[in-house]
Amino acid sequence: MTNVKTRQLSVNGVKRTVDAPANETLLETLRRIGAVEVKCGCEKGDCGACAVLLDGEAVDSCLTLTGTVGERAITTVKGLGGAENPHPLQTAFADLGAAQCGYCTPGMIIATQSLLTNDTDTPDEADIRLALSGNLCRCTGYTKIYDAVLDGARAMREAEAAK
């Protein structure tokens, strides 16, 4: 490894110091430091399993060079919530059977969160199809995923309204 540089990353709100070579992708860095909830599918931008939020916008971490991330906040699916404190989208995916093997789920949830916060909090099916066309699922046939997105979006709006 050459061109290694020490970089500061903000991962799910925690500052991490990593030594990363210039040609390392964010996917490689994150998995190396233990953020294995970020999945590796194709490493060419096709499948979306590696999606993370950068300052709230979903990107494929396999296409992002770690050295270009800078001070932007990295959020993985774990940063949204976990078994103890699930995010409404995680609850909806679990309740509606939108995860079977689960490999695509972290990317699906990240892409959905990005849709709901950056584009529209009241998506219709066309919005959902457009937002998730870069996420492949080999198990569910997508129907249950779209249902979970609609349900999770509704739960998020209700939570927002109750504030």
Partner: protein
């Protein structure tokens, strides 16, 4: 990632221009936009330029301005930025069409307009709309700046007039005249996240009952995206009729020089050029009358 390189992340445009200033070829030093082409290519080929200069987050390089009758996109404006700006429908509807069928969300959030032009792909989806809108690009080096009509930018398959020491810094086009309309249609193997088999964009402007402005651009049917200028002249200055539209569509088909590849045969592509040019001309003309 296999090949190695230097990764330079400048804070200011001037620094970036100095960094690429010494580049004699794209192998010495290349700009890195969103990386959605370059990172994929580097991984597939195992080769990389000696140095990459990251330009996607340079201050002032991202954003859409509409002023004095001109629409200007900063080079690092992303495809999602285009979709999120409601003004784009007014000033460049074909760009919205192109952005909606572009890749998946994560790539759209990252892919820059400059990267789409500079990758030089004949299947780049924003290039036909930009040609139909009559766009120009600004190329800047440490030594100065020049503006080139996009129509004169490409010189062949993945080749262009851009020198390796130049950055594409902005893209602009005139706000379309009143009573004009633009469209883009992408023919792919499926709806989501597909590579274009044929891309067609048209712009038609009507004045006093005649087509005062006609531009027709074809993607994925030649070594680079290009304008079907013989087809344009069929309609330009004339009152539109079904016969003239048909004639223009046939001319566009004759101008197309597609290859056979894994996505479609050349013969199919040629036929689809005729179908799509006819359809888009009819749609735009109807929307104006």
């Amino acid at each position: 990632m296999y090949a190695n390189f230097d990764l330079l992340v400048p804070d200011e445009l001037d620094q970036a221009l100095t960094m690429i200033g010494g580049a004699k070829t794209a192998e010495d030093c290349a700009p890195l936009g969103g990386g959605t082409n370059l990172v994929v290519d580097m991984r597939a080929s195992g080769k990389a330029p000696a140095a990459l200069v990251s330009v996607a987050r340079l201050p002032g390089l991202r954003g859409i301005t509409i002023a004095e009758g001109t629409v200007t996109l900063g080079a690092a404006t992303t495809v999602s930025d285009l979709l999120r700006d409601p003004r784009m429908l007014e000033v460049g509807a074909a760009m919205v069409d192109g952005s909606r069928v572009f890749a998946g969300q994560m790539v759209r959030n990252t892919a820059t307009v400059a990267g789409n032009i500079c990758c030089g792909s004949p299947a780049a989806d924003l290039v036909p709309p930009l040609l139909a809108l009559g766009a120009s690009v600004t190329l800047r080096s440490a030594g100065g700046e020049r503006t080139v009509p996009l129509d004169e930018y490409f010189t062949g398959y993945k080749t262009s007039v851009r020198r390796p020491d130049e950055l594409l810094t902005s893209i602009s086009w005139p706000v379309p005249a009143e009573n004009s309309a633009s469209r883009f249609y992408k023919l792919g193997r499926r709806k989501g996240d597909a590579i274009t088999m044929v891309g067609v964009s048209v712009l038609v402007g009507m004045k006093d009952g005649v087509c005062s402005e006609v531009r027709i651009a074809l993607g994925a049917v030649g070594p680079c995206v290009f304008r079907a200028k013989t087809a344009e002249t069929v309609l330009k200055g004339k009152a539109p009729s079904p016969e003239l539209v048909e004639q223009a569509a046939r001319k566009a088909m004759e101008e197309a020089a597609p290859i056979d590849d894994v996505r479609a045969t050349g013969a199919y592509r040629k036929q689809q050029v005729q179908v799509l040019v006819r359809r888009l001309l009819n749609q735009t003309i109807e929307s104006l009358s």
